[in-house]
C-alpha cells in the first residue's frame, strides 16, 4: 500500500478554495499559509503550540496552525486573521485593540485577535476571568495583558452595538 506524497493540497481559506502544489508531507499548515500562500498574518514564533501567535480557525475550532500537519487540512475550512478584517474594513475586535492600546510590538496581536474573536462568538459579554482563561494560550511579552483584556471587553460591547 502506498501513501500519497502530498503533491497537491485542497482546502478553503477565508471562504476561497485553494489548491497548493508541492507541499512536503511533514510541513505544518502554518508554513503553507505563510510561505506558500502569502498569508503572513498568522505569526511563526514558537512552533510548539506554546505562544498562540499562529492561532487560526480550523473547521470553526481555534487551533495553533503550527501543530496542524498540512495534510490534515485537506478539504477543511480555514479562517485566518486576514479573513476577519483588513485595513479598510477592520473587525470590531481589531478596532478595539487599537482603541484600547492593546498593541505594542504587534507580533502576538493577530493570534490574540483570532482567539478573542472565538471567545466573543460564544460569550458576547465575557467576565475578566473568562477572558483570561480564553486567552491563556496566547503570550504577549510587551503589554502585561491589562490593555488586551480591556480591548476584549470593549470589543464585546462594540459587537453588541452598545456604547463604546
Amino acid at each position: 500500500m502506498e501513501g500519497a506524497e502530498i503533491v497537491r493540497l485542497n482546502l478553503r481559506i477565508n471562504g476561497q478554495p485553494h489548491e497548493v502544489d508541492d507541499v512536503w508531507e511533514g510541513e505544518s499548515l502554518l508554513y503553507v499559509l505563510r510561505e506558500r500562500l502569502g498569508l503572513p498574518g498568522s505569526k511563526n514564533a514558537c512552533e510548539q503550540g506554546e505562544c498562540g501567535s499562529c492561532s487560526i480557525y480550523l473547521d470553526g475550532q481555534l487551533v495553533c496552525a503550527c501543530l496542524v500537519l498540512a495534510g490534515q487540512a485537506e478539504d477543511r475550512e480555514v479562517v485566518t486573521v486576514e479573513g476577519l478584517g483588513g485595513s479598510n474594513d477592520l473587525h470590531p475586535v481589531q478596532e478595539a485593540f487599537l482603541e484600547a492600546g492593546a498593541v505594542q510590538c504587534g507580533f502576538c496581536t493577530p493570534g490574540l485577535i483570532v482567539a478573542a474573536h472565538e471567545l466573543l462568538s460564544r460569550r458576547p459579554d465575557p467576565s475578566e476571568s473568562e477572558i483570561r482563561e480564553a486567552l491563556a494560550g496566547n503570550l504577549c511579552r510587551c503589554t502585561g495583558y491589562e490593555k488586551i483584556i480591556d480591548a476584549v471587553s470593549l470589543a464585546g460591547r462594540k459587537m453588541a452595538g452598545g456604547s463604546t
Binding site: 512536503w24 496542524v68 500537519l69 491563556a136 494560550g137
Partner: protein
C-alpha cells in the same frame, strides 16, 4: 516521508499492518513539535483525524467508551457529569488551542509521565482498547504504560478507545505547575470515591516513570472513612493518607522541580483532594441520591 489519511478504522489498521513503523497523528500537539524542530522524521505518517470510529464516545453498562480521537475540549463539554475526574484533568491540559486538538489517544501513545489525561484513568481502573488487523484487545491503562514514553502497543496496533467506568462518587484531580495554563505538570494527583463499593481510587502523575496507584493509601483510607455518617476526616487520618501517597512516588530531580518537592506536593494534594471529595460526598448524601458532581 509518506502520508496516509485513512477514511475508516479498518483502513487505518491495514496501513499500520503494512507499515509497523508508521506514526499515527491526531491533534499533533506532541508529534508536530518534534517534526517542526527536526527531532523526528517519521517515514510514514498516518492521520487519524478522519476515521469516524475514533471521534465518537458511547455508553454501555455503566462504562463510557471514548474514541481515542475525542479532544479534551469535548471531554470537558460532553462528559464532565459522568467522568468528573477526567474532565477536571482535561481542563488543566495546555490551552484552549491545545485542548481543541489534543486527545486521550495521544496522551496514551506518547506515554509521557506528565500526561494529564492518564492519572484519572488509572485511578478508576480504566482500560485501553487497542486493535490490529488481527483483532482487538483491552488492557488496564496502568499496565498499558510501561515506562517513560513507553507503552505496550505492538507495531501493527493502534489505540482505538478508552473504557472508563462512570463515576460512583466525587472525583478530583490536582496539578502543580508554575502557572494555570500551558504547564507541564510538576506533579499531579487523582482521587475517585466509590460510594457504592465504599472504596477509594488514587493515581499519581509526573511522579514516577509511569502512573502509579497508591494501593496502601487506598486501603487505609477506605477503612478509616465513616461511609455511613460521612463525619469529617480526622486531621491525623488525612495526614497519614498523604504520607502513604507520597511514599509510593519515585520522582526525579529535573528542571521543573526536585524529587523532594514532588513528594511533599503529593502529600499535600492527596490531603486536599481527599477533603474536597469527602466534603462533597457528605453534602450530596447517600449513593442513591448521588446524581453527579455539582456543575
Amino acid at each position: 516521508m509518506e502520508f496516509f489519511r485513512p477514511a475508516s478504522l479498518a483502513e487505518a489498521l491495514e496501513i499500520k499492518a503494512a507499515h509497523p513503523g508508521g506514526i499515527p497523528i491526531a491533534g499533533g500537539t506532541d508529534l508536530m513539535v518534534e517534526i517542526n524542530f527536526d527531532k523526528r522524521r517519521p517515514e510514514v505518517l498516518i492521520d487519524l483525524t478522519v476515521c469516524p470510529e475514533l471521534q465518537e464516545w458511547s455508553r454501555s453498562n455503566g462504562t463510557i467508551r471514548i474514541g481515542s480521537g475525542v479532544s479534551y475540549s469535548r471531554l470537558i463539554a460532553e462528559l464532565a457529569g459522568e467522568l468528573p475526574g477526567l474532565a477536571i484533568a482535561s481542563r488543566t491540559v495546555g490551552s484552549p488551542q491545545i485542548r481543541n486538538r489534543g486527545t486521550l489517544g495521544g496522551n496514551l501513545g506518547t506515554a509521557s509521565p506528565a500526561g494529564d489525561g492518564v492519572p484519572p484513568l488509572v485511578a478508576v481502573g480504566a482500560e485501553v482498547e487497542v486493535a490490529s488487523t488481527n483483532g482487538a484487545r483491552t488492557l488496564p491503562v496502568a499496565e498499558f504504560i510501561t515506562g517513560v514514553k513507553k507503552n505496550a502497543l505492538a507495531g501493527d496496533e493502534l489505540i482505538v478507545a478508552v473504557h472508563v467506568p462512570v463515576a460512583k462518587g466525587p472525583q478530583q484531580f490536582s496539578k502543580i505547575g508554575t502557572r494555570n495554563a500551558m504547564v507541564i505538570a510538576v506533579a499531579t494527583f487523582s482521587i475517585a470515591l466509590d460510594l457504592e463499593s465504599r472504596t477509594v481510587g488514587t493515581a499519581l502523575g509526573s511522579s514516577s516513570p509511569r502512573p502509579l496507584r497508591a494501593h496502601d493509601a487506598e486501603e487505609f483510607i477506605a477503612a478509616e472513612l465513616d461511609w455511613a455518617e460521612h463525619t469529617p476526616v480526622p486531621a491525623n487520618v488525612a495526614e497519614r493518607f498523604g504520607e502513604l501517597v507520597a511514599g509510593v512516588a519515585t520522582p526525579i530531580d529535573d528542571v521543573r522541580g526536585t524529587a523532594a518537592y514532588r513528594r511533599h506536593a503529593l502529600g499535600v494534594m492527596a490531603k486536599r483532594t481527599l477533603t474536597w471529595t469527602w466534603d462533597e460526598a457528605g453534602r450530596l448524601g447517600a449513593p442513591a441520591e448521588w446524581k453527579g458532581p455539582r456543575s
